[in-house]
């Protein structure tokens, strides 16, 4: 009796979970189908159904634009550099804020947090001037530098949270073994927050990869343009081939999916191997 009740509950639970999963998968389904339609299907006859007919030539259109490979490469360069640099800088700063003892640590945290509260559009003109004066305009650094700076606040905030949960005994033991503070940081503390690093890397990746405003404003030369900008260039003044634009967006989203799954696997693995155990 009790067992059937439990089974019914379980079925209801899984049915609910799967239903939500279908809703969450819908945008992905829509993006892929949208990329295989023409304007007429997208806007009037068939906005949400399966493509009829399938227009694979949309993808040919995108790839024929020629520079897609170079755009993709630029996006990869900018994003990976941003993730690498911002991770190093923010784990260091977060460690000092969370674990080390100094008067201004809370103020420093709030100061960094301010970076998340600043509306990006307001920084556009001053940053443009800054990058022109420093001759960084029209180089990959014109994007990497702002991306790193704007990724730091969130990363620090999350890392501080994770560092704080680590028991003090771990540092004490290492310290007694004669390890320096730098050794403790690199060899003990950073490995302990691996899941957090992977999580933050995903968020940083997403904000750089999809970023448009800085990427449009700080890069002028075609050879440094990023993928999202290249794809938005398919939006015309009065006429747009939306299907091809969709194909471009698919091309931009596939790397994201792959990288997300890789990172997510990394998070999962660290849980199962028990990175943090009391």
């Amino acid at each position: 009796m009790n067992r059937t009740k439990q089974n019914v509950r379980k079925i209801a639970l899984y049915a609910g979970l799967i239903l939500i999963a279908l809703v969450q998968l819908f945008p992905l389904y829509w993006l892929f189908t949208f990329s295989l339609k023409d304007n007429m299907q997208i806007f009037t006859t068939n906005p949400l159904g399966l493509p009829n007919p399938y227009r694979f030539e949309n993808f040919a259109d995108v790839l024929q634009r020629g520079q897609v490979a170079s755009f993709l490469l630029n996006s990869l360069l900018v994003t990976t550099a941003t993730i690498a640099v911002s991770t190093v800088l923010s784990t260091m700063a977060a460690y000092a804020i969370a674990r080390m003892k100094w008067k201004w640590s809370n103020t420093a945290l709030l100061f960094f947090l301010m970076g998340m509260m600043i509306p990006l559009h307001a920084t556009l003109v001053p940053l443009f001037i800054f990058l022109k004066r420093t001759n960084l305009y029209d180089t990959p650094f014109a994007l990497i530098l702002p991306y790193v700076a704007f990724a730091i606040p969130m990363a620090i905030y999350i890392f501080v949270g994770f560092f704080k949960t680590i028991p003090a005994e771990m540092e004490e033991a290492a310290c007694l073994d004669g390890m320096s503070i730098y050794g403790i940081f690199v060899k003990i503390m950073v490995p302990l927050i691996r899941p957090a690093i992977a999580t933050v890397a995903i968020f940083t990746y997403l904000s750089c990869w999809n970023e448009l405003m800085f990427a449009i404003s700080f890069i002028s030369k075609p050879q440094w343009k990023t993928l999202t900008v290249g794809i938005m260039g398919m939006v015309g003044m009065y006429a747009t081939n939306w299907g091809a634009l969709g194909a471009g967006l698919v091309v931009a989203t596939v790397p994201t999916l792959i990288i997300y799954l890789l990172m997510s696997g990394e998070i999962q693995k660290s849980f199962t191997t028990g990175a943090i155990k009391g």
């Binding site: 000092a96 509260m117 559009h121 704080k164 949960t165």
Partner: protein, 295 residues
């Protein structure tokens, strides 16, 4: 140990690189904006110093719509904290323990966050489309044609329609953060409680939620800040319309800087958004005076 953790040189080495990059690229520009906010400047050519007039005008002149924008963003912040985060927490708890395909559900629930806002916006424009949109077609098929609406064209419901999308899109974001915090709880704690005969819901209430309070605080902070400076999706979905029904502070700031040629006014709005977020964040930190649990 204590001496090692008070080493000033080490603190400086750890914090300075981040501080330097952050100050020059983030703080310096916003300081400039603070200065611009005191000017009457069209974004090209000469400017006049006008003190706090921009700040005064944005609150007293109703045709700036700024007060309306603040009210709208406050509403969104409320929805985020009291609807989005509880839902995300519920999902995180559900999938973090004893569920088959745990990784699958976690990955799939996060998908709307991965997809660029442009795509999400276009998708919902199609769903809400007055004539061939999925929502209205669905309502007709279910015999609920009376509930059909011009979701994004009717000023009285467009705000709700737009906020629904915003709340939905970022549930996965908060879920992932809380999920990783739940996963960081040592399993030994659960095992002990299970031996004591605790049920699953008791485990969540008495062990998981208190232990991940610091992460809930992080989520609440992010949700508040994110709501007060939300821009992209609103801009794609409604552009602040119809007739200003869905304006938020950032859409107005953008319009003033880049459409109206009122650079000073736009900067003043930016500074206000910053201050507003700062005050609320300090408040949240006070409110969540939670102890850090030592395991």
């Amino acid at each position: 140990m204590d001496k090692v953790l008070r080493d000033r040189r080490a603190i400086a080495i750890f914090i300075l690189p981040a501080l330097l990059v952050f100050s020059s690229v983030v703080i310096l520009p916003i300081a400039f904006s603070g200065y611009y906010s005191l000017l009457e400047w069209n974004g090209a050519g000469k400017s006049t110093f006008i003190g706090l007039s921009n700040y005064l005008e944005m609150f007293t002149n109703p045709s700036t719509y700024f007060v309306k924008g603040i009210v709208n963003s406050a509403l969104l912040a409320g929805l985020s904290v009291f609807v989005q985060i509880p839902l995300a927490l519920g999902l995180a708890l559900l999938i973090s323990h004893g569920i088959r395909l745990e990784g699958f559900f976690r990955n799939v629930y996060f998908i709307p966050v991965i997809i660029s806002t442009t795509v999400i916006g276009q998708l919902w424009m199609k769903i809400y489309h007055p004539n061939n949109g999925m929502l209205n077609i669905l309502l007709t098929d279910l015999g609920l044609a009376a509930l059909k609406r011009n979701w994004l064209a009717d000023p009285s419901i467009s705000l709700g329609a737009a906020f629904f999308v915003l709340i939905w899109q970022y549930i996965g974001y908060h879920m992932l953060l809380m999920y990783s915090a739940i996963k960081a709880i040592p399993t030994s704690l659960y095992e002990a409680a299970e031996i004591d005969g605790c049920s699953k819901s008791q485990l969540s209430r008495h062990i998981a939620i208190p232990l991940i309070m610091p992460m809930i605080k992080v989520c609440v902070t992010f949700a508040l800040i994110g709501s007060l400076k939300t821009f992209d999706l609103i801009y794609v979905l409604t552009k602040g319309g119809p007739i200003h029904a869905t304006e938020v502070p950032t859409t107005l700031m953008f319009a003033n800087i880049f459409l109206n040629y009122r650079y000073g006014m736009g900067s003043a709005m930016a500074i206000f958004i910053l201050v507003e977020c700062l005050v609320l964040t300090v408040f949240v930190q006070r409110f969540f005076k939670v102890e850090n649990y030592e395991f």
